[in-house]
Amino acid sequence: MSLNPNAPRPKMEARELTLRYGTKAAIQKVSLAILDRRVTALIGPSGCGKSTFLRALNRMNDLIPGANHTGTILLDDMDIHDRSVDVVDLRRRVGMVFQKSNPFPKSIFENVAYGLRVGGMKDKSALEQRVEKSLRGSALWDEVKDRLHESALGLSGGQQQRLCIARAMAVEPQVLLMDEPASALDPIATAKIEELIHELKATYTIAIVTHNMQQAARVSDRTAFFYMGELVECGATEQIFTNPREKRTEDYVTGKFG
C-alpha cells in the first residue's frame, strides 16, 4: 500500500509519544499517523488521553505546569519539539477549535481577524477579504454578513462555534485540531458542524476528538481508539466500527462500556 502513489502521506505523526502531568502518565507510547487531508477521529472513554494527545499536536500542553513528554511528534517530517521550531509558528500551522466555543468579547469581524492581526496583517482590504473567506468557509457568512461589527457574544451557541472554526481557519493552518467541537451543541447545529468538516477536509488535515460514536463514524476516514492512555487500535473508520481487531475496541464501539 505504501507503494501506491495515491496513498495519503502522514501529515503529522507521533512516535512513541509518552506524556506526563508531573509523574502521572496521561498517554503511554502512542504511535499514530494523522494522514494528509483526511479526517482522523480520536475516540475513547473519558480520561483515556485522547484530548491530551490532540493538545500535544500543537503543543498546547506546554501551558500546563508540570507537563512533560518523551518521544517525537513530526509535522511534515519536522520535529515540533525541535529547538529551531517556534511554538507560535507551529500554532499558526496547526490550528485548534475547542470544546466550549470561546469567542473573544469583540465584534464578529475582530474575532476572525484576530489571528491575522497578531500575525502582523494590517492592510484593511486584505483583512476584509480573509475574514469573508473564512466566514464563508465555515458557512456562517450569510448569517452574519450584515452584523460583522456587532459583538460575537450575541451569536447562538452553534454560530459561536462556527465562528471559532472560522477564526482558526483565517490564519490558514494546514492542520485543524478539534476537541469535541459539537459536544455542547444541539443536533441541528451539530449537523452543520459535521457538514462543515466534510467540506474542510478537501483543504485541511483534521483530527477530531469526539465522545459520539455516530459522529466519529459519520465524519471520519480513520479512527483511533484510545483506552487508559494507550492507543488500542487505529484503522479505517469502517473497519474500526464493523470489524475491529481488538476485543476492547469492539466492546467500546458497540457500547458495552465507556
Binding site: G95, N102, P103, P105, V118, R167
Partner: protein
C-alpha cells in the same frame, strides 16, 4: 431545651444581630446628618473658589481642593503602572505558587497593614532625606531643592500606601478574564505579550479602573502620610512645581479643628470643609461601584 427557651434564644440572636447591623447604619446616619446639617449652608461658590482668609476664620478652601486633586492625580500616575505591572507579573508571568510570587504577596499583605503614619515617616526618611538629598547632590543644587517636603514626595508616599489596593483589585480583574480567552489567543499563534495586550488587559480593564478609583478615594482622604512630606498649614498660592508644598482638604480640616484661634468662628467653615471632603470620597466610591456593576452585567450578558 424546651421549645420556649429555643424560641427565646432564637429571638435574642435575631435581635442581637439586627442591633449590630442597625448600629452601623445609625453611626453613618448620625455622622452624615450632623455634617450635612451644619455644613451644607456654608458650601457656596465663594467657599469653593476662594483661598482661606482672616487666619482661617473666613474665605474658602480652593487651594485645599486644588492641592488634594493635584496630589491624588500625581499619586494615580505613580501607583497605577507599578501596581498593574506587579499584578500582571503575579498572575500572568510568575509560575503559580513560586517562591517569588509568594514573597511578593506576603509583602503586599503586610504593606496593607502598615499604619499610615508610618508611611509618613517612611516618606520623610526615604523620599525626602535619602532620594531628595541624593538628587540635590547629584544635580548640583546648592540649596535644598528636592530635599524638602513637596507634592511629588507626598504623592509618591501615598502611592506606596495605595499600592496594595491596586495590586489586589487588578489581580482580581485578571482572574476574572476566562482562561478560555487566553488559550484561544495562544492557539491562534499569538505570543504571550500579544495575548496580554489584546485580550487579557482589555478584559480586565473595568476591574483595573475600579481599583484605580478605590485607590484614589483611599488616597484622597489620608492625612498622616502627607503630614511630613508636603502638606502645608496655609498657602495662598497653588503648587506650581513638583517640589511645591500644597494645601490639602484632610490636613486643612485637622488644622482648623486644632489650631484655630477662634473655635466658634472656624466651626462653620470646618463643617463645610468636611462635607466637601466626604462628598468627594463618596462620589469616587460611587464611580467605582457603577463601573463594577456595569462590568458584572456585561459579564452576565455574555453567557
Amino acid at each position: 431545651m424546651t421549645p420556649n427557651t429555643r424560641r427565646a434564644v432564637g429571638l435574642a440572636l435575631t435581635s442581637l444581630t439586627g442591633l449590630a447591623a442597625f448600629i452601623i447604619i445609625a453611626m453613618l446616619g448620625i455622622i452624615l446628618f450632623n455634617v450635612v446639617e451644619n455644613g451644607a449652608g456654608g458650601v457656596t461658590w465663594t467657599f469653593l473658589s476662594k483661598p482661606p482668609e482672616d487666619g482661617m476664620m473666613g474665605g474658602g478652601i480652593f487651594p485645599a481642593i486644588f492641592g488634594t486633586a493635584a496630589l491624588t492625580l500625581l499619586m494615580t500616575v505613580a501607583v497605577m503602572p507599578v501596581g498593574v505591572l506587579t499584578a500582571v507579573y503575579l498572575h500572568e508571568y510568575a509560575p503559580p505558587n513560586s517562591l517569588s510570587a509568594r514573597f511578593v504577596r506576603v509583602a503586599v499583605v503586610n504593606l496593607a497593614g502598615v499604619p499610615s503614619i508610618v508611611f509618613g515617616l517612611f516618606g520623610l526618611g526615604f523620599f525626602i532625606l535619602f532620594v531628595g538629598q541624593g538628587m540635590d547632590r547629584a544635580l548640583g543644587h546648592e540649596e535644598m531643592y528636592w530635599a524638602q517636603p513637596g507634592i511629588l514626595w507626598a504623592s509618591l508616599t501615598l502611592a506606596v500606601l495605595t499600592l496594595p489596593v491596586v495590586i489586589v483589585s487588578t489581580e482580581e480583574a485578571l482572574r476574572a478574564v476566562p482562561m478560555d480567552h487566553r488559550t484561544a489567543s495562544l492557539a491562534l499563534g499569538a505570543t504571550q505579550s500579544q495575548t496580554l495586550g489584546r485580550v487579557v488587559l482589555p478584559g480586565a480593564l473595568p476591574g483595573i479602573l475600579t481599583g484605580a478609583v478605590l485607590a484614589i478615594s483611599r488616597g484622597a482622604g489620608e492625612v498622616a502620610p502627607i503630614l511630613f512630606t508636603g502638606a502645608a498649614y496655609f498657602l495662598p498660592d497653588l503648587p506650581t512645581h513638583l517640589n511645591s508644598q500644597f494645601m490639602h482638604l484632610g490636613y486643612h480640616t485637622y488644622v482648623m479643628a486644632t489650631q484655630s484661634p477662634d473655635v466658634e468662628a472656624t466651626r462653620p467653615l470646618l463643617y463645610s470643609t468636611v462635607l466637601v471632603l466626604l462628598l468627594l470620597t463618596f462620589a469616587l466610591n460611587l464611580v467605582a461601584v457603577i463601573i463594577r456593576t456595569r462590568t458584572r452585567r456585561k459579564a452576565a450578558g455574555s453567557h
